[in-house]
Amino acid sequence: MNWEVGSGLNIASVLIVVIVIAAMLIWVERRLLGFWQDRLGPNRVGPFGLLQVVADMIKIFTKEDWVPPFSDRFSFVLAPGIIMIVILMSFSVIPFAPGVGVINSNIAVLFVLAMASLGAYSVMLGGLSSNNKYALLGSLRAAAQMVSYEVFMGISLLGVVALAGSFNLREIVVAQENGWFIVPQFVGFVIFLIAGVAESHRLPFDIPEAEQEICAGYHTEYSGMKFGMFFVGEYLGLVLISSLITVLFFGGWHGPLLPPIVWFVIKAAIFIAFFILLRAAIPRPRYDQLMTYGWLFLLPLSLLNLLITGALILL
């Protein structure tokens, strides 16, 4: 196998930076939401409330880590680990800049999709093992939502793959040197964006954990760091989707003047902020509306997009 694996330093720094950013997003999201909703947000701990994350971490690590006696212990403990592992594994194929990245793989796009589909087990097992009606309802919704939106997520990417002629994310970025794929693949971008929000089940598509209807959905029974892993896993998913959009549609590290890694961080940060704004701006749809919208609108649209892209490439 001729696949280049990054150095140990490279792998360790990607891992640590990604986890720290995901943890910091807890504070960033609350401050930004506060800003957009005309209030302050957490600003007490440290300068601008920056140490809020540290305080939250100390709190969550010292909380009692309770496993309900009525739960299925094996899958209850396994579930929060799955989401962390599959999302961190997905980061291994993301090309952050030339020379920065864990592995240069020829099946990178498919690998990300495989890991996203395995992520569904986390919410399903979490809800099922909790032995709680709210949790079960939440994970039923999560399973249906994630399985449906995976389909269009995959198909919406195929236009980009066809244009670049490769499943390799690094080659996809190189292919965008003279023009970002957002221009020829705008429809694919919009579908991927919507499917990405649904896959990471954030508001407005946080139907599996809708507090107002079903407590906290699939993680109702979780406490302590197990809950923390679901929580950080959600932010990791947000960072992953933003990085993927940057890589697939916005030219990855390409940009004038500034060094490549800075461009990547800027583009990804814009999308993270956009997702947070989405949360502040759009109300949650009903569950059946979400499914109907997906299967009857997004699926035909993504198939049509793929068909037209393929026809134009052949011409």
Binding site: F74, S75, L110, F111, L113, Y121, L128, L140, A143, E150
Partner: protein, 158 residues
């Protein structure tokens, strides 16, 4: 790569055995997912990364999710575990174990003669074959899927 192959193969065999002897159906499904992922790694180590990742997406990621989805709605509790224990504790193990032992011996004894030299087959090669010599099989499979889709729609409508 050969050591990766052996590790993944052993994981797949052990996980598949655990699937059979679990009394809790959710645990059995988790081990089945593990077994399928290990088989994906086996494909990868033999030089078929595209097939490996499709195995992970289709079997481990989609089909097993639907299995788990059905199990979630069945509400299998203590009674089903008891029943499973009764079913597992029979003398019916004898003949299948014997057969499995014979097969195992056959596989192990043929191991030294197998050529494990790896040549990587990527997505491009697989696609050229699929839409070249095997295009008829692809079309037949799509007929089958369409028939399945129509009948599922019909059943769900009643």
């Amino acid at each position: 790569m050969i050591s990766l192959f052996y590790v993944a193969a052993i994981v797949a065999v052990i996980a598949s055995m655990l699937v059979i002897i679990q009394v809790n159906v959710v645990h059995a499904l988790i081990y089945l997912v593990l077994s399928l992922l290990a088989i994906a790694v086996v494909f990868f180590s033999l030089g078929a990364p595209f097939v490996a990742v499709l195995e992970a997406i289709v079997y481990a990621g989609a089909i097993m999710v639907l299995f788990l989805f059905v199990v979630m709605m069945l509400n299998l509790g203590h009674a089903s575990r008891q029943q499973e224990r009764v079913w597992l504790a029979t003398s019916g193990w004898l003949l299948p174990s014997l057969l499995a032992g014979v097969l195992f011996w056959g596989v192990v004894s043929s191991l030294p003669s197998i050529d494990l030299s790896v040549s990587v087959i990527g997505a491009r090669e697989v696609s050229i074959r699929l839409f070249g010599p095997y295009v008829l099989a692809v079309e037949l499979a799509s007929f089958l899927l369409l028939a399945g889709l129509v009948s599922a729609y019909h059943i769900a409508k009643r």
